[in-house]
């Protein structure tokens, strides 16, 4: 729907594919492809055999659905009740709003014009019920309008596919000789009830028929658009520094958030410059909040990044990532609780130094020392703290192991003397080796194993030393020695 670079040319057969049970299947096809005999729902390999010049792209169904959800809200321009219908339709309850657009026929023309301006092809129908509109839009004449009294007549000529049934039921009805909705209507109710008494809604022609004819209610449950929380202050004269206005803006925004029972995790400050440009600053918090002083404090060093140009005369402050937030009593004595302080500390640090500087190390499942530790966000919830190592591990680890020069090697164990950072260390005691083999599922072939030694030198320093590889292991020359960490 939102392809970059414009629509593909019409003369090339193009299909969208999705993953099926046995390889990719056709999700949708363009007109040329359909003319060439491509059927949506069949396998891509079969269709390639029919049409060798077929171009296949993968469908982004989640994004399609999200785009359709946005379109649902966009369609509120015509009527207040709109809802997404499946993966490819919109239902608008236009009762009482068609006269505003000059009647139903004019309304359909207006809708089709607006949608085609966005590059969308739409098939529209007006009918008294959801089911009838569904069938008429897909199988009826162009821009068909169906009144309440002619619904039986108009639906009767349509194929049974228009009853919103699943494929097996449609096949069953076809085999029974019921090819049109009119044929299903002519069957006595009792027989249909008896035949489909246990079937669900999607497999029950009688229920679907009742929905389409209005005998079974099917209301439109319209989704609400998320409210937008923003405050603004218009200035009489252009200014260059928004700082004096920030406390009031933050307070107003937090008031609106409080009245709605919401809190925000992001704030966007936008200034509209007199020369027609905009400049903005964003801050984020690690927990939902609506505390004006805290939010104001996050902007402290960031306001300088605004480029004021020749001044600005409108400041807006908008809350993003708005979530419901319950007012909590922290303590019986009215004091504030500890978690709150911690989240605010992390917010302040992230606002000043950037969120990447504030991390929390966690243990990971790995024997390779540098992979046994991972970084997560400072206040991330960690369900499992990972396996606690029982091995003796150093307190400090170097990001890059430092190679040492061995002065006096011995065949077994660590070297008797080595030079690290221009200092000679004589090994007095050692523990090890602890052999850590490379993780073959991650490492490149040829990675050498490591033998770790905890050594103590003549001055009592305890160092974690390792030898990379073995003599004659066929993975490079002589093994090298590295310092990887320091013990307490």
């Amino acid at each position: 729907m939102e392809r970059q670079g414009g629509a593909p040319p019409d003369d090339i057969p193009i299909v969208l594919a999705r993953e099926g049970h046995h390889g990719p299947v056709i999700h949708a096809a363009n007109r040329t492809a359909r003319v060439n005999g491509i059927l949506p729902g069949s396998r891509v390999v079969d269709m390639r055999a029919i049409c060798p010049e077929l171009q296949v792209e993968f469908a982004d169904e989640a994004e399609d659905r999200a785009a359709l959800d946005r379109l649902v809200l966009w369609a509120r321009r015509w009527c207040p009740w709109t809802v997404r219908d499946g993966d490819g339709g919109l239902i608008l309850d236009t009762t009482g709003s068609d006269h505003l657009l000059g009647g139903e026929a004019a309304m359909l023309v207006e809708m089709e014009t607006q949608l085609s301006l966005m590059g969308l092809t739409a098939r529209l129908a007006v009918a008294p019920t959801w089911g009838a509109a569904w069938a008429l839009a897909r199988f009826g004449p162009v821009r068909s309008i169906c009144g309440a009294e002619e619904i039986n007549f108009k639906l009767g000529a349509l194929p049974v596919t228009g009853l919103r049934l699943d494929d097996t039921t449609v096949l069953l009805l076809r085999r029974l000789g019921l090819k049109t909705i009119g044929a299903v209507m002519d069957v006595p109710r009792l027989s249909l009830t008896r035949r489909f008494i246990k079937a669900g809604l999607a497999a029950n022609p009688l229920l679907r028929l009742d929905q389409a004819l209005g005998k079974l209610a099917e209301p439109v449950a319209s989704m609400d658009a998320k409210p937008r929380f923003a405050v603004q202050s218009r200035l009489a004269e252009p200014i260059f520094d928004p700082t004096p206005y920030l406390p009031e803006l933050c307070e107003n925004l937090c008031d609106t958030l409080k009245q709605a029972g919401m809190g925000c995790r992001r704030l966007h400050l936008t200034v509209y410059r007199t020369d027609g440009d905009v400049s903005h600053v964003d801050v984020a918090t690690s927990a939902t909040t609506r505390d004006p002083t805290h939010l104001h404090g996050l902007f402290r060093d960031k306001v300088e990044r605004i480029n004021p140009g020749f001044g600005f005369d409108l400041i807006t402050l908008e809350a993003g990532s708005v979530e419901a937030m319950q007012e909590k009593q922290n303590r019986l004595d009215g004091g504030s609780d500890d978690d709150l302080h911690l989240t605010r500390l992390v917010d302040r640090l992230s606002a000043k130094f950037g969120p990447r500087a504030i991390t929390r190390p966690v243990l990971r499942e790995s024997h390779i020392p540098e992979r046994a530790e991972g970084q997560v966000a400072a206040l991330a919830n960690i369900a499992d703290l990972g396996a606690v190592t029982t091995q003796d591990r150093p307190l400090r680890l170097f990001d890059h192991p430092e190679e040492v020069r061995v002065l006096y090697a011995v065949p077994e164990g660590p070297p008797a003397q080595f030079v690290w950072r221009r200092q000679t260390h004589r090994v007095t005691r050692y523990a090890g080796p602890e052999r850590i083999a490379p993780e073959w599922w991650k490492d490149r072939p040829g990675t050498r194993l490591r033998d770790y030694f905890k050594i103590e030198d003549q001055s009592g320093r305890r160092i974690w030393l390792y030898r990379e590889g073995l003599h004659e292991d066929g993975r490079g020359g002589d093994p090298r020695w590295f310092v990887h960490g320091c013990f307490a």
């Binding site: 500890d338 500390l345 640090l349 130094f353 991390t359 990972g386 307190l395 400090r396 307490a488």
Partner: protein, 225 residues
């Protein structure tokens, strides 16, 4: 901070820090790569499950490595702050000391940056005492200049205790501690043994022979500052 002083004066207290409150301490490792100081600081933190705020500057991270969680243990969560300048480290430490829910604040600063002067350490010390959160400043490759830290330690590793099962392996770590300046207790020198299983720090007076002090002993015995 002014109000704190006034309150203390009103309460009629002598301006003598309570030995039980947590405050700012400075640690000078003998060599930059010695992790004995880290071991000592971790052993001295209060035994709670509250998180540690650990702020490092770039040179400390490059020269002395980063804290390794598998060695420290996962009992207390660690919030790491990786910064580049000493000014930022001081800012983060001071900001962290406004939060009472931390178990401790550890800062690592390399060398003697001009930002780390008497005023900066005084701010840290007062904040730490107001929040009752211990603040440890680990200063590598630094000289012990003027500072408002209440305790100043010089720490180095010494050969470890014999291993109970393996004669040639290093055993329980031992550290030589030198409390060369303290406001709250008498300075002194100890050899500390850390028992990790019980989280116990045993202090012992070093038994080796020392040269006789040239002075009358009062200068060493009194707390300076």
């Amino acid at each position: 901070m002014g109000s704190l002083r006034v309150q203390k004066r009103l309460a009629g207290q002598v301006r003598q820090p309570d030995p039980l409150t947590h405050t700012l301490s400075e640690v000078f490792p003998e060599t930059a790569t010695d992790a004995a100081a880290i071991g000592f600081v971790l052993a001295r933190l209060p035994r709670t499950d509250a998180p540690i705020l650990w702020v490092q500057d770039r040179l400390s991270r490059k020269e002395a490595g980063r804290p390794y969680l598998a060695g420290i243990g996962t009992k207390r969560p660690v919030i790491m702050v990786d910064l580049s300048r000493a000014v930022d480290v001081l800012w983060a430490l001071e900001d962290g000391l406004r939060c009472r829910s931390l178990c401790g604040v550890i800062g690592e600063i390399w060398g003697d940056p001009p930002a780390l002067d008497f005023t900066a350490t005084k701010r840290l010390a007062l904040r730490a005492e107001a929040a009752d959160v211990p603040c440890w400043l680990i200063r590598r490759a630094a000289s012990a200049d003027l500072s408002a830290a209440r305790d100043r330690w010089r720490i180095s590793a010494v050969p470890s205790a014999p291993h109970p099962h393996d004669a040639q392996a290093p055993g329980t770590p031992r550290w030589a501690l030198d409390l060369f300046r303290s406001r709250r207790s008498k300075p002194g020198q100890w050899v500390a043994t850390y028992d990790r299983a019980q989280d116990r720090l045993n202090l012992a007076v070093p038994v080796r022979d020392r040269t006789l002090a040239t002075g009358d002993g009062t200068a060493r015995g009194r707390a300076a500052g």
